[in-house]
Subunit: 392 residues, 2 copies
């Protein structure tokens, strides 16, 4: 009576959501302060103050019909120009407003790009550890997700494994840097080597292999780490960006796709993405948030709290004997599960009301993920549980 | 290099958008006051004042993390409960919050329902005149759109033509009442006859044929016309609603799907819809607008201006000799093209800077659509052009 794969997608909850909801239930039983929830990547720092001030100012001082009216499908010209200007200025390149397509966040952006590139059963390559939703994004839209095993423990790229998976059916490789779940940023060296490999393979297979840069964490970098702008390293890069983390607006569904002019057949790729967005129900990105972005494209989050949490967790867990990947971006830390089975370890942790996400869905079952977008208080309260678990 | 059907969808602009953009270019040449643009169905009455007041109040007085944070995929419990309570109260039925799934407007709502019901090549039946986007919504997502010719000139339902198109591959019939483009509301009698036919056919084919009620114009009714709540007439009805017109928030992308408990296997249908939404990039509906809806679910637009425009246009065009369908809902009027070819007539009108939409894409090539969500001034200025065109 209904489509089985859609039913499965709607029924099989993500293990992250399951953990999160378990935490809510446990909190009602043992008290909120006794549950240590590291499951959900929900920003814990508020939107920069100018974002909310701008929002109120727009609603107060702009005609309601203009504020809330339909915008063109790719977005308000003012928002597209502001985003393009910010990128151009920051990276010393020429991005035009016409290269920007505003979306309801990164999820529909990625799906539009995948659908635009998928010729029917095309392969989209993801590099472990990877965001688990890439799988339904590709597979529910007729493409095939091919996973490259992780480069442990650096969590850069396992080159022979990647090369072995590139062939004439490969339409794109998705990279997510700063990375969810590892918190690692691909170095410039990694990206240059990736570019060289994709150039070589594109020539071999006779069509461009695109790079999809999934960049919701671009502004979340620590210790002065560089986050290279990938289109300057590999020309055939399509950027999917979200303001969910950079402006702490995850529920508002505002992001964009950038197809620079130097992408091969840029206008055709852009048009196919616009068509794919339409096929998935895109009309325009939320109009009020487009106006906010037009005025706040230069705003940056104050990431000090994430940085402090990261330092505290890395230091304490390492001292307890955990094998942690040192994160320099995003708001996650990836930790090797004592015993090597992160599912079993997560289950043990759950008994102590410590909620950590096993790495299986990210393609690395021996590691678990913890979110550092939590309160410092909760971290301090949770440390005895981490200590007990490794000593058991 | 890219998917051809997506490219086609992104390249073939809708004729409505083409006309609208032609109007903008002409305005720069002949002056804005000399272009009579009846092309776009963009609300011309502002959001009810309490909507913007509520919006500012939420941003000012609620914690930023809560306002802009992710919500559960089906929506904030408060928004789901408020919508359910409003429907229950108004129609004397029992709709629960759990029956409501908030979406980024009606377009992704319709696509989620179509994808949830499509078993691969399933048939979705639309009744002319119909909203042209139904075609890409169905066809880009693996279903087949089957069109029932219009019942001219009442624009209710042509029964033999509908019945002839219902078979074992039919998963749903979409109705849009009040209708875009005709402005006609299906009477209770029509809906009861439709329900009886679908009951009979469902029994014959051995599975439910769902009714998809696409209802963005539900609140726009005139002359005291009744807009029946279709789930009370036909149990297997799934409602797709949008606040675009009822709260004049078209750019904000906020709407919902309602799957009442009395739909067959309601929970399964709901789960499949949730999965299909996820497969199309749904994470949550814009969080701030969800909060607005939670507090303004009872707000109604002041439709007096639409009503006056409707009366004025109907009276004047009829006096000139046009054969108009008298609209009692939405903000459109459907008019028979003198000569019977609405494309040719629209082309002639364009020469007089009068922009009217030919009915071919709506499935009725002998009629054209005019939007009544325009200014009264523009209507008055445009009347000589309408008069001249029919006299030529």
């Amino acid at each position: 009576m209904v489509n089985e794969s859609m039913l499965k997608l709607g029924t099989n909850r993500s293990c992250i959501r399951e953990l999160f909801e378990y935490g809510l239930r446990q909190a009602a039983i043992v008290g909120k302060e006794n549950v240590f929830d590291y499951s959900l990547g929900n920003p814990s720092i508020p939107a920069p103050p100018e974002v909310n001030e701008t929002l109120v100012d727009i609603v107060r001082n702009t005609d309601s019909l203009a504020v809330h009216g339909y915008t063109p499908a790719p977005g308000l010209p003012a928002a597209r120009e502001a985003i393009a200007a910010e990128l151009s200025e920051r990276y010393g390149v020429r991005i035009r407003g016409a290269n920007i397509f505003l979306t309801c966040g990164a999820a529909p952006a990625l799906i539009a790009v995948i659908r635009a590139l998928n010729m029917g059963g095309s392969e989209i390559v993801a590099i472990a550890p990877f965001f688990p939703e890439y799988r339904p994004f590709a597979e529910s839209n007729g493409a095939k997700l091919v996973v490259v095993p992780a480069d442990v423990p650096s969590f850069q790229i396992n080159w022979p494994e990647l090369e072995a998976r590139l062939n004439e059916r490969t339409q794109a490789v998705i990279v997510n840097t700063p990375n969810n779940p590892s918190g690692v940023i691909y170095t410039r060296e990694t990206l240059e080597r990736l570019a060289a490999l994709l150039e070589k393979k594109s020539a071999e297979v006779g069509h461009p292999i695109f790079l999809i840069a999934d960049e919701p964490y671009r502004e979340l970098a620590y210790d002065g780490a560089e986050v290279p702008f990938i289109p300057t390293v590999y020309p055939n890069t399509i950027v999917c960006y979200s303001y969910s983390k950079s402006l702490s607006l995850p529920g508002e569904r505002i992001g964009y796709i950038c197809v620079p002019d130097w992408v091969e057949d840029s206008a055709t790729v852009f048009a196919a993405i616009a068509g794919a967005a339409r096929a998935s129900g895109h009309v325009c990105a939320p109009a009020l948030q487009q106006r906010v972005v037009a005025l706040c494209a230069h705003s940056r989050p104050n990431v000090r709290a994430y940085d402090e949490n990261r330092a505290l967790l890395y230091e304490q867990l390492s001292a307890f004997g955990y094998d942690c990947v040192k994160p320099n971006g995003a708001f996650y830390m990836f930790v090797k599960a004592p015993g090597g089975d992160s599912q079993a370890f997560s289950d043990r942790a759950k008994e102590k009301n410590l909620l950590i996400v096993p790495g299986g869905d990210f393609g690395v079952p021996e590691y678990f993920r913890i979110c550092t977008c939590v309160s410092k208080d909760m971290i301090l309260r949770s440390l005895p549980a981490f200590k007990a678990l490794i000593e058991e």
